[in-house]
């Protein structure tokens, strides 16, 4: 998939979206913490399942970290294993 130039945003053709970057990499990125429910809840679906990184664009390294944090949060009861 081609990386789209941002300056052509208006003229952007359909079916070619710009590549998303990992929200946990780079400057000012939040730290993944199992106690931070608000941050973690953005990366689970409405059913409480962990959203795949191909959708959230989290890098593989950070996705592993994130998954571990979510599992810890579930264990201590601050996040659900399954909704309903």
């Amino acid at each position: 998939m081609a990386i789209k130039d941002l300056t052509t945003a208006q003229a952007r053709r359909p079916f070619q979206r710009r590549r998303k970057t990992c929200p946990f990499s780079g400057e000012g990125a939040p730290k993944i913490d199992y106690k931070d429910v608000r941050l973690l809840s953005r990366y689970v679906s409405e059913r409480g399942k962990i959203v795949p990184s191909r959708i959230t664009a989290v890098s593989a390294l950070k996705q592993r970290e994130l998954a571990k944090a979510i599992k810890r949060a579930r264990f201590i009861g601050i996040m659900p294993y399954a909704v309903q």
């Binding site: 979206r17 000012g28 939040p30 199992y34 608000r38 953005r42 996040m79």
Partner: protein, 138 residues
């Protein structure tokens, strides 16, 4: 000496005072093993996401611990015996954070949300028609 973050959940029927006594007792167990507690954070009676031993709520306490592994093992052994403790988790960390944890500062963190719009970004190929469609479920 290793550093640990330790969270434990006490039964909903015990009072806050009893939880504090419990914390003090555990601190003592650690001290006997040559460790110490560098931070003690009581989160209060919080609702659980699912029932644990028929409890819908639990008292949460976070402890930052600096102790040797045998001391922590001894504390965990005693926690397993205590029926007021629903669950506990000890995580070894490279460094302990000083300030209040994410749980305590939750309320005044709205400033951060502007960074990424407050929801996960939907990735390239899936963001097709309409862009904002949520992923399929089930």
């Amino acid at each position: 000496m290793a550093l640990y973050e330790h969270i434990f959940l006490a039964r909903q029927d015990v009072s806050q005072q009893q939880v504090e006594e419990l914390t003090a007792a555990l601190t003592e167990v650690l001290a006997a093993g040559g460790g110490k507690v560098t931070k003690n954070e009581y989160w209060g009676l919080k609702g659980l996401s699912y029932r644990i031993r028929k409890n819908r709520k639990a008292h949460y306490t976070l402890l930052n611990i600096e102790a040797s592994a045998p001391a922590v093992a001894e504390m965990e052994r005693q926690m397993r015996i205590n029926e007021d403790i629903l669950r506990f988790m000890t995580v070894r960390v490279d460094e302990l954070e000083d300030g209040p944890s994410a749980m305590m500062q939750k309320r005044d963190r709205d400033d951060r949300d502007g960074r990424d719009g407050g929801r996960p970004d939907r990735g390239g190929d899936r963001a097709g028609f309409g862009g904002e469609r949520r992923p399929r479920r089930f």
